[in-house]
């Protein structure tokens, strides 16, 4: 007995506005935009609460459902109860300037230390020159200089006196000294004439004395450099003592404030020692002979090393940081070291170290978009490496990839304790899980967000509140309850599920905005069902060009689709064409031929390499159905072929396998198929009809064709019974169904579909194991039996021929 069509009320799950207990959404309070995500929220809360470093979180789900909003809300509330983490700064390493040291201070004290040191340097800039320009210092320096000079002068004078005692004068020459014999009275230098008159032994003695004195003077002069060095060392020691005396109280005062921070004290001590060794940096420098623009003297550069680079400053924070990094590239994640150009070279120092998002999120939470991380060169590897190491090591990408060989700076790493939350779609999550062995070590928590909710009375009101919140947030007009009802229905259509609410926030917001536009255009103050529908229609119209084209081609018989009559082996299948976010149904003629053969069912789409794997699987399933039903005790002696007529592109999916099977059976049974019915459905080996996708679009696609060609009152679509719960058809289809001009039939088995299409009972196997002969199955069985017989006969003939 053929089935009855579905009653109109089964074709659309309407919401009765009267079930909504408000007039407009303006009455409704705000609600969290992300709600009823129990699984995801529980996972997220667990992930951000557990202490283990490997339990970072991957928040997965389709885009646009509000994952990021939910994450920010939950983490924001959680972070409010977490302590503010420590400040971090980098300081100059006086032992090894290439390796700046990291200093950790309680929150707020980093800025204090920075200010204190800046203040200290400013004070020293005044105090130190004042000391060295003072009269007392000058007097002490002069005293040392006089002592040094006196030492030399006294040594010379002593030698002069001895020379005098020995009758020799020590003379100053233009470039040094000379010894010459004195006259007997010792008052003047002996003239050569007088000398030559002396006895030879006296001359000899004088020469020897002069030579001796020369050697002694030479020896004395060679001591002068070391005496001068001693004098310089005394001066340096004087300077050190003075500096210690000057800076001591200032630095000690500073140290008193940081007694609880040994590393800060150690740094202050290093600063003190360095200032003592480089006090000249605080003294006024002579002006350049030619002033250079933007020139900073070396001493000014060196003074910078006493300051700190406050990398992370939490002085204004009251909770743990929650950082959302919009551009998570390598440098933005782990920081970078900047350079500046100076006289044709690139220079850097610890003050040019810049923090990354991981620094800012240290002690808190870091939220990243997974896709964006993966798209940034090396960012994913950087993130993993840093999380595994548990410390942030700043290194340029060029250095990491060994593209440069110079070593700029190697700042000491900073320990990392942060929870990373990656937000991405499901495909990314599962790809990472399958292909990256480190992924599960680092992201052990998956927070899986639903894109739909069950449609229940309690969720309906909450859903309305969410719509109200969205409207207010986007500064849109409030909705009437029938507007809300229409939105809910449209959501069910988009989900292809009448039992669910669509919580894809982005698509809801977009539709709301379009409805708001429609309302305002018409001078309304509320968004009603009419505006929502107008928005839906306008959007459909914007994307509808190709569908209209296809319909025109069908109407003009450029694409051959029959909507009346009967044909053997020819059936109207239904396809869905996806164009981005828009899809529409398009009928497709499927034809089947059968002949004597050896059991192969040729899928011409597959032969032409246009059929996808799932489509091919569907064809194999139906061929096995044929074999199992009709060829259990005899060989399946038919060859068949199936094709989507006038289809010149790829075909995928098994939603046409029911139609294909019906076409084959029609051909085998030599019974014509109704052309005023279209068929969609997947079939299994047992002949059960399985649900498919896009059922609404497929029905509407055939309806549109029939409407254009003229509704006869007999046309309709056969769908799987399991798809009835997905039906949210257009109003015009509904109206036609209510008027009896168009019908939708829901089938569970291939036999039910065959009875509708062929108008003959399918037939059941009798006690003799055969089907009644006038039934569909009987006719198929009979035909296959004939094929088997023929094949046997042909087989024997061949044997005899070659025998």
């Amino acid at each position: 007995m053929p089935l009855d069509p579905l009653p109109p009320e089964r074709l659309y799950a309407a919401i009765d506005p009267a079930d909504l207990d408000f007039a407009t959404t303006a009455e409704l309070p705000d609600a969290p935009l992300v709600f009823e995500q129990l699984r995801a929220m529980q996972a997220l809360r667990f992930g951000i609460d557990v202490d283990d470093p490997g339990f970072n979180v991957f928040v997965l789900g389709p885009t646009g459902i509000g994952k990021l909003t939910a994450v920010l809300d939950v983490i924001g509330a959680h972070a409010a109860n977490k302590p503010v983490p420590d400040d971090w700064c980098y300081v100059h390493n006086f032992q090894d300037p290439v390796k700046p040291k990291a200093l950790r201070l309680p929150a707020g004290r980093g800025r204090k230390l920075s200010q204190d040191l800046a203040h200290l340097i400013e004070e020293l800039r005044t105090a130190i020159p004042a000391v060295f320009e003072g009269e007392e210092y000058r007097a002490r320096v002069e005293e040392l200089e006089q002592q040094a000079k006196a030492r030399e002068a006294n040594a010379i004078e002593e030698l002069r006196r001895e020379a005098q005692r020995r009758g020799i004068a020590l003379l100053e020459t233009p470039t040094g000294f000379a010894f010459a014999p004195l006259t007997h009275d010792g008052q003047q230098v002996m003239s050569p004439e007088v000398f030559h008159q002396l006895p030879p032994e006296v001359q000899q003695r004088i020469e020897e004395t002069v030579e001796d004195l020369q050697q002694r003077l030479q020896k004395l002069l060679r001591q002068f450099p070391s005496w001068r060095k001693e004098a310089r060392e005394k001066l340096r020691q004087l300077n050190r003592e003075i500096i210690q005396y000057t800076i001591g109280p200032l630095i000690e005062g500073l140290e008193q404030q940081y007694t609880d921070l040994p590393k800060v004290l150690a740094h202050l001590d290093a600063v003190r020692q360095d200032i003592v060794e480089h006090v000249e940096d605080f003294l006024p420098q002579p002006p350049l002979p030619i002033p250079l623009p933007f020139f900073v003297s070396k001493s000014e550069e060196r003074l910078k090393r006493y300051q700190i680079n406050l990398l992370v400053d939490h002085s204004d924070q009251k909770k743990a940081p929650v950082i959302h990094e919009a551009l998570p590239n390598h440098a933005n994640l782990i920081g970078r070291i900047d350079y500046h150009a100076f006289m044709g070279t690139l220079v850097t120092d610890f003050s040019l170290i810049k923090p990354g998002a991981l620094h800012r999120a240290n002690g808190g939470y870091l939220i990243l978009d997974a896709r964006t991380v993966l798209l940034q060169p090396h960012a994913w590897e950087t993130l993993k490496r840093t999380l595994k190491a548990g410390e942030i090591r700043i290194e340029s990408l060029e250095k990491t990839l060994s593209l440069i060989s110079t070593v700029p700076l190697e700042p000491s790493p900073i320990p990392l304790k942060t929870r990373v939350i990656l937000v991405g779609d499901r495909l990314l999550y599962y790809l990472l899980d399958a292909l990256d062995p480190e992924f599960q070590d680092l992201f052990k928590v998956a927070a899986d967000f639903e894109e739909e909710l069950p449609r229940k009375p309690q969720t309906l009101r909450l859903y309305a509140q969410v719509l109200a919140t969205l409207a207010r947030k986007e500064k849109l007009l409030p909705l009437t309850r029938d507007g809300v009802a229409r939105l809910i229905e449209q959501g069910a259509r988009e989900l292809e599920d009448t039992q669910k609410l669509n919580i894809h926030l982005r698509s809801l917001t977009d539709l709301l905005k379009e409805a708001d536009y429609q309302a305002k255009k018409n001078g309304r103050e509320l968004i009603t069902q009419a505006e929502v529908q107008a928005a839906i229609d306008a959007r459909t119209f914007r994307h509808d060009r190709l569908r209209a084209k296809v319909q025109e081609l069908i109407e003009r018989d450029m694409l051959l689709i029959d909507t009346t009559g009967q044909r053997v082996g020819q059936i109207n299948g239904l396809t869905v064409i996806l164009l981005g976010s828009f899809k529409f149904g398009r009928p497709a003629r499927i034809t089947a031929t059968t002949r004597l053969g050896e059991g192969e069912v040729i899928d011409i789409e597959r032969e032409a390499e246009l059929g996808g794997a799932i489509h091919s699987k569907g064809v194999m399933i139906l061929s096995n159905f044929l074999a199992s039903r009709y060829a259990r005790i005899q060989p399946l002696s038919m060859a068949a072929s199936l094709v989507f007529e006038q289809s010149y592109g790829p075909v995928e999916g098994d939603s046409a396998s029911l139609a294909e099977l019906c076409a084959l059976i029609s051909s085998l049974a030599d019974l014509p198929l109704r052309q005023d019915l279209a068929v969609t459905g997947s079939v299994n080996q047992l002949g059960q009809v399985q649900p498919i996708g896009g059922v609404n679009e497929k029905i509407e696609g055939f309806f549109d064709v029939c409407q254009r060609k003229g509704l006869t009152g007999r046309q309709g679509v056969i769908i799987p019974a399991a798809n009835v719960q997905n039906l949210m058809l257009r109003q015009d289809v509904m109206v036609a169904a209510a008027e009896g001009k168009f019908h939708v039939y829901a089938v569970r088995t291939v036999d039910e579909a065959l009875e509708l299409l062929l108008g003959v009972p399918a037939g059941e196997r009798g006690e003799d194991g055969g089907f009644p002969p006038e039934t569909i199955n009987g006719r198929v069985e009979h035909q296959l039996g004939k094929f088997a017989e023929l094949r046997k006969r042909f087989g024997q003939r061949e044997e005899k021929k070659h025998g």
């Binding site: 100053e172 020459t173 233009p174 470039t175 040094g176 000379a178 010459a180 050569p192 020369q214 003077l217």
Partner: protein
């Protein structure tokens, strides 16, 4: 008989080029409207020593021995005198001041004192190390002598021109400005400690024989 005008004689030791003393003497000569004479005094002992074959020069900086012969010594002195001559020409041009250059050989102090006539100002520039204390005062040794007032007047003028203080010292305490009563040795120590831009002293004072070698600045004997 032509009147011999009092002049300013700047006595320089041929071993030391002391331009500051020359400048100071030129300024004094210009203000006092006196002619300027630069007297370069060469030490004869050096020439004697240079003629002795066994005498060698020991370099001040590195202690190396070098031959010390007359041609070399004369060449060195010629070079210095030429430098002094160039300074003199430049000063004459700049200050429109007539000047002369004289070279004598002898003991520095005695030769310089012998060259000065009564009324001449004698400027000595033989100090070994120039002491640079900013705004060191001009000192005047004031004692009971005919040229004491002249020394005081010159000292005042110098202090005004140099923009520094004028300080006086002498054996007796006098109520004149900043007067420091002290003896010769005390005065010399004072100069050492406090520095001096210039010292003005009467020629007839016993201090006149010690100041040129002990003071570390130009000494003007009046």
């Amino acid at each position: 008989m032509a009147e011999i005008r009092p002049q300013v004689i700047v006595a320089l030791d041929s071993l030391y080029l002391r331009r500051q003393a020359l400048e100071l003497g030129a300024q004094v000569a210009m203000r006092q409207r006196r002619p300027l004479t630069v007297l370069v005094i060469e030490n004869p002992a050096l020439f004697h020593a240079a003629e002795l074959p066994f005498v060698q020069e020991i370099d001040r900086l590195c202690g190396f021995l070098r031959p010390f012969d007359l041609p070399r010594l004369e060449a060195l002195f010629q070079h210095r005198i030429a430098q002094i001559h160039r300074w003199l020409i430049e000063i004459e041009t700049r200050l429109a001041l007539p000047g002369g250059l004289e070279i004598r050989r002898g003991h520095y102090l005695e030769t310089a004192l012998a060259a000065a006539q009564e009324g001449d100002f004698l400027v000595f520039g033989t100090y070994r190390e120039w002491q640079t204390i900013r705004r060191a005062p001009v000192w005047v040794w004031y004692e009971d002598s005919p040229s004491a007032e002249q020394a005081l007047a010159l000292g005042r003028e110098l202090a005004r021109e140099e923009g520094c203080r004028l300080r006086l010292a002498g054996p007796a305490s006098l109520p004149i400005g900043e007067f420091v009563p002290t003896d010769s040795e005390g005065f010399l120590n004072l100069l050492e400690r406090q520095g001096c831009t210039a010292v003005v002293c009467p020629k007839t004072s016993p201090l006149a024989k010690e100041l040129p070698t002990r003071a570390r600045c130009p000494v003007i004997l009046v």
